[in-house]
């Protein structure tokens, strides 16, 4: 590989992308609009019900009067730590441990405060308070890693897959074949160009929407950057596989849609895969977007480190390697 030829293709592809104002604007506006739309649509309080988690490891001798209060939903929980996290995230307004006579509320939750007053009024002095803190997770906090990942997927698949097919169809690849440029130099330049463009757009959208929405980000920004970069590489490589031989833009468009639509709905971008059929859950693991979304979400919402999401990173790295190998093996100029 000769760096000069790689850089020549790389920089001319960048110019093409940056000068195509309408496409550039769309690449940035599209995710911003979706994020803003969700933030607006889910901004109201969705449930008026009070939710109290109740740990029932041992049945208490007397049932507290509190449990008979109306308009409170009592949810049995078995695992203490998971339930405390839910209180931190405002998914539970209160957690009650009947056996140990303890309760947890989130100091920043108004509902927690009301429930505390109710509890004191009905079962005065019986329970000791365990305060936790933590901001509530809005749907927009939960969905934003997925939206960023999904936008990345479209940009990667279509920006590489579709563009290389267009180059092949209009004869540009034939012209390059007649020069000393090797397929590896050409493909590496396409991947590199798309990678930095995707990362630049994602960082811009992230910063831009965060200014307005101030979403939850507990993990390290560097870790998130690494996850997004690796995810982008895997999706770009997938686009390369589609573009390796396809000569018709229609066929390429069809194949890319065939890949992107199932990923969009089955990778847990919009809704959690917790409750879906186990088979579907397994199927989702073959999509790079699933690993990208879950890893990014774990970093942003749970503050996970790279070690915690190592399985996702390994899957993304393995997929990238596999797709790159297949893509360059199958690649033909014409």
């Amino acid at each position: 590989m000769k760096l000069q030829r790689f850089l020549a293709v790389f920089s001319s592809r960048n110019k093409e992308f940056l000068r195509d104002r309408s496409a550039l604007a769309w690449n940035i506006l599209f995710p911003v609009l979706i994020v803003m739309g969700f933030a607006f649509a889910f901004s109201g309080e969705s449930l008026d019900l009070y939710k109290v988690g109740v740990i029932k490891e041992q049945a208490p001798a007397t049932r507290p009067e509190f449990l008979a209060t109306r308009y409170i939903q009592f949810i049995p929980v078995t695992e203490l730590n998971a339930a405390i996290i839910k209180v931190e995230r405002h998914q539970l307004d209160m957690l009650l441990d009947l056996a140990a006579r303890r309760y947890w509320i989130n100091d920043s939750s108004p509902k927690g405060y009301i429930l505390e007053q109710v509890l004191r009024g009905t079962s005065s002095g019986e329970f000791s308070k365990q305060a936790v803190s933590g901001r509530g997770i809005r749907y927009v906090d939960w969905v934003i890693p997925g939206i960023l990942a999904m936008n990345m997927m479209f940009s990667a698949l279509f920006g590489v897959g579709y563009v290389i097919v267009r180059y092949r169809k209009n004869g540009m690849l034939k012209r390059l074949k007649a020069t000393p440029v090797t397929p590896f130099e050409f493909l590496a330049a396409q991947v590199a160009s798309r990678l930095w463009l995707i990362m630049a757009v994602t960082v811009t959208v992230f910063i831009g929407t965060d200014l307005f929405i101030d979403f939850r980000m507990l993990g390290s920004y560097l870790d998130l950057f690494i996850v997004f970069a690796l995810g982008a590489v895997s999706l770009i490589s997938l686009g390369m596989v589609v573009a390796a031989r396809t000569a018709s833009e229609e066929l390429a468009g069809g194949l890319l849609n065939l890949l992107s639509w199932p990923m969009m709905f089955l990778s847990g971008v919009w809704f959690s895969l917790e409750g879906v059929h186990p088979l579907l859950k397994k199927l989702a693991l073959i999509f790079p977007l699933t690993h990208l979304t879950e890893a990014a979400r774990a970093i942003m919402i749970d503050g996970a480190g790279l070690l915690d999401i190592a399985p996702h990173l390994l899957a993304l790295a393995a997929m990238s390697g596999l797709f790159l190998a297949i893509g360059s093996y199958l690649f033909r100029w014409e």
Partner: protein, 294 residues
Amino acid sequence: MATLLEVKDLVKHFRGVRAVDGVSFTIAKGICFGLLGPNGAGKTTTVEMLEGIKAPTRGEILYKGEPLGPRFRHEAGIMFQSTALQDFITVGETLELFQRFYSKCRPLPGIIESCSLQGFLDRDTRKLSGGQRQRLLLAIALVNDPEVLFLDEPTTGLDPQARRNFWELVQTIKALGKTIILTTHYMEEAYNLCDEIAIMDHGKIIAQGTPKALLTEHFDDVVLQLPREEFPAGRDHLPMTIVHSRNAVEILTNDVNATIQQLLALGVSLAHLQIRPRTLEDLFLELTGRELRS
């Protein structure tokens, strides 16, 4: 003269069709070699195999005695029949892009001047006229100061003025000692530019040599042209070969004086008489029984 390219028994099949059917020739260094023939004769397929773009089904191509390889790609300049250039970059940037692909380059200002690109260097390549675009594609083919230059139907679709300008440009490149391989279906173009030609039809070479030698080999006559309306009807029994072409009557003769006297004796007006030598177009018709552009 040293041989630059050697082609031995080249065959190319496309889904059962023999597009090129056993073609052999050699091209000496420094000449302009023309591949002529009608559309679909196999010219472009042949030349794309020479360029290393298509792999032959059978046969051998040697450049400087070696099979085509990286050396060839560095030393060849190629102008395809149609090439899309990258969108959103200018003429100047396109030239720089291609120049960075090669280790040995000719300075751009010289190329820009000889191809007359000065006026539109900053223009987007999508906004060029036909002639400007062809000059840019030629300039791209010249960025690596090639030893051998391939021009595949370079003037197809150009107006007559742009075509003549392009011919002049090719003549100046020829003067630099470059080897040129040209395909065309314009016989005039081949006659003006080529030192040697091979005429192709149905994937085979049916005649090869210098244009002059080919003409003298096949013809010893000239053509007398008269407007159709000045030629008396019902004279088909005249002792001369008469060819009716579209607007004129053409008489083939190897004794102009005698024919003119015969025509005068018949009372034919010679006011609009034209005498022309035989052309490559006639040669093609003679060899195949078909007109080149039919």
